[in-house]
């Protein structure tokens, strides 16, 4: 009797376990991820709106800088919101209208931001090769009949508005060589959105020549070895993309941001992010490093409007030393 009871009990337990197992694994209707989920808490940390410019493939830029923003959030404790403008001049407008607190800017936009909004330059990027500057370069496909700048007369030159390499430098180069004092830009400009788009314009034949920063052209040549280009002129080096903070930014916040950026290469996570960006580290930078820009602007003088940059030219900050600008 005792054994029978035990057996019945075990059977009952077994059946119960089987039913429970079935219930545990029975198909359930899972709710999909809610797309309109509401945040349960509001962010309490200050948020820095970080502007980006469309230097090259905007999606790649976005992906890379997202990693940087996550890193900076962790290191500074501030929230970082990225704001990518669709053009260089709109980054400048964002700065002027205080729609961004900081931005990674090209050299010409940086000098304009410093001049027009009082923004401060705090750091610039150094490539893995150790170079922290870039030059403007005017190029044509190697198969092109254009051999030198004067051959560009009447041709289409692709460039990017409000950039040193693709807007200021070509005009400056004309003026410097006194090719046509009355009309320095004796070519027709084709305005592309990014440096990579300039290369596309040239390769597609919609432009005869292009003007971009040398780093982009070098990178393109590395990834497309079958494409060869002839460089017609190269500018003096200017600082690569620099981080500027607005004048209104709290100095403590700016200092924290600067420290985090300059110390990136000293920690493992920072090195990983830098590698994603194709950089070695960030180095200190100041407005004095942009002297080549001011030299070009001063050389242009009244011809500044021909760069197609809105507004007045950037003025060299006082006590800034003059230096040679172009070498091409």
């Amino acid at each position: 009797m005792k054994w029978t009871k035990l057996l019945l009990f075990c059977s009952f337990v077994g059946l119960v376990l089987a039913v429970l197992a079935w219930l545990a694994y029975r198909p359930t209707i899972e709710n999909g991820p809610t797309t309109a989920s509401q945040p349960t808490t509001l962010p309490t940390v200050p948020v820095i709106r970080l502007g980006l410019m469309p230097e090259r493939d905007v999606f790649a830029v976005r992906r890379e800088y997202q990693e940087l923003s996550v890193y900076l959030q962790q290191r500074t404790g501030y929230g970082i919101d990225l704001a990518t403008s669709n053009s260089y001049r709109n980054v400048l407008r964002d700065f002027e209208e205080s729609r961004i607190d900081a931005a990674f800017l090209g050299s010409l936009v940086a000098t304009l931001a410093v001049d027009r909004t009082g923004a401060q330059v705090i750091a610039r990027a150094e490539q893995t090769s150790g170079i922290s500057t870039y030059t403007g370069v005017i190029f044509v496909p190697e198969s092109s009949s254009i051999k030198e700048l004067c051959d560009l007369k009447g041709k289409r030159l692709a460039g990017v508005r409000t950039t040193m390499s693709a807007a200021l430098y070509p005009v400056y180069e004309c003026k410097r060589n006194h090719q046509d004092e009355s009309k320095p830009e004796h070519w027709h400009m084709v305005w592309a959105g990014t440096h990579e788009s300039v290369i596309d314009e040239v390769l597609s034949g919609r432009a005869d020549a292009g003007a971009i920063k040398n780093l982009r052209l070098d990178a393109f040549e590395r990834t497309h070895p079958e494409q060869k280009f002839r460089r017609l002129a190269v500018s003096a080096p200017v600082p690569d993309n620099a981080l500027l903070v607005s004048r209104a930014m709290n100095p403590d916040v700016a200092a924290k941001l600067r420290s985090a950026l300059l110390a990136m290469h000293t920690d493992e996570e920072g090195q990983r992010v830098l590698k994603t960006l194709g950089l070695k580290r960030y180095v200190p930078c100041s407005v004095e490093d942009f002297s080549a820009i001011y030299d070009m602007v001063e050389t242009l003088g009244p011809h500044w409007p021909r760069t197609a940059v809105d507004g007045p030219p950037p003025h060299r900050p006082t006590t800034r030393p003059a230096s040679a600008a172009g070498n091409g």
């Binding site: 054994w3 029978t4 057996l7 059977s11 077994g14 059946l15 089987a18 197992a21 079935w22 694994y25 029975r26 198909p27 359930t28 209707i29 899972e30 999909g32 797309t35 469309p54 493939d57 905007v58 999606f59 976005r62 990225l82 704001a83 990518t84 403008s85 669709n86 053009s87 709109n90 407008r93 964002d94 692709a158 508005r161 084709v190 305005w191 592309a192 959105g193 990014t194 788009s197 596309d200 314009e201 597609s204 919609r206």
Partner: protein, 339 residues
């Protein structure tokens, strides 16, 4: 022993039942999983495809806003493109079972998305009219191809899930039929086992009841034949031993009675012979008196009856008692001598 046998049968029945139940649950679960996968994955797939369509439209709207100068930031555009890229990747992985028809379409969607994204990126940043026109045409073409492929993949998905549902339902029907047959068999086996178990108990109990009843009727020669090596076998052996003991006792009593009858018969025969001799002498002396003759004849008849009774005692096979008075028993000679 009997307990062990019963337990063995019971365990066999429980194991059989559990095995059948577990198998049934496992197979049903399999079918339910399949149906579950079809409904959930299809819903997720359709959601994703719809979301992709919406994202393409939102990208086009956002692009238009940028071109009109109403928007100068690309962040919303990025979000839509990233959402589209995520969903494109998800399309290939949402459906947990291979959908071979769609495998040719995924790479096409991925390729078109890359083309679309590239042109959108250019359109969002370029300021050259010719470039806008050239990229716009390419972007529109890629957009149309994307939408067409998304619709196609949705159609393929519906066809695929319909086929899978039909297969699962058909499998479910066969499974239900199969399980019904299996459980009928299990129930039959159960009944057969129960019958066997009941026979194992009822048969020896019936034999013992019958033997006991006959023993009660003083049939001491009855024996129970139970070929079981269990408690019933032991009980049958005990019963047979008891019956044997009772039979021996009875035999001893009958033998004693027979010996007493021989002795009585001997003594009674001697006395009877003398009495008969004296009766013959008295008959000769009665000189034909009827009354005397009648009395002598009655004495002779009763003497014969006594002799017959005592003689009958020698033939007693068993002792059968009957009521003589309310509290006294006497030997039922007729029954005791019956064959």
């Amino acid at each position: 022993m009997l307990r062990r046998k019963l337990l063995t049968y019971l365990i066999a029945m429980v194991v059989l039942l559990l095995a059948a139940s577990s198998g049934a649950i496992w197979m049903l679960q399999d079918v339910l999983d399949e149906l579950d996968h079809v409904s959930l994955d299809e819903a997720a797939y359709v959601d994703t495809a719809n979301r992709m369509g919406v994202a393409i439209t939102e990208i086009e709207v956002e692009l238009r806003e940028i071109q009109l100068g109403r928007e100068r930031h690309l962040d919303n555009l990025f979000e839509h493109i990233e959402s589209l890229q995520r969903d494109t990747k998800a399309l290939d992985t949402i459906y947990t079972k291979p959908m071979f028809d769609a495998h040719a379409v995924y790479p096409r969607i991925t390729a078109n998305l890359q083309v679309f994204s590239k042109h959108v990126g250019t359109l969002a940043t370029t300021e050259d009219e010719a470039s806008v026109k050239a990229n716009m045409a390419d972007a529109m073409t890629a957009s149309v191809r994307l939408r067409r492929d998304i619709m196609l993949i949705g159609q393929l998905m519906r066809d695929h899930t319909r086929a899978e549902t039909r297969h699962a339902v058909s499998k479910f029907r066969w499974l239900v039929l199969g399980l019904a047959i299996v459980f009928l068999l299990v129930i039959n086996v159960f009944v057969i086992l129960m019958l066997r178990v009941s026979q194992m108990v009822l048969k020896p109990v019936g034999q013992l009841v019958e033997a006991t009843r006959r023993l009660g009727e003083e049939e001491y020669a009855v024996r129970v034949q139970v070929d079981q090596h269990d408690e019933f076998g032991e009980l049958a052996r005990a019963y047979n031993h008891l019956a044997e003991q009772l039979q021996l006792n009875e035999q001893r009593r009958v033998e004693t009675l027979g010996q007493a009858a021989v002795m009585l018969n001997h003594e009674l025969n001697n006395a009877s012979a003398i009495i008969k001799l004296q009766l013959k002498l008295l008959e000769r002396q009665s000189n034909g008196s009827d009354a005397m003759s009648r009395s002598l004849r009655q004495i002779d008849e009763n003497l014969a009856r006594m002799t017959a009774t005592v003689d009958a005692l020698k033939r007693v096979r068993r002792i059968v008692l009957t009521d003589y008075t309310a509290d006294t028993k006497m030997l039922d000679l007729q029954k005791s001598t019956a064959e």
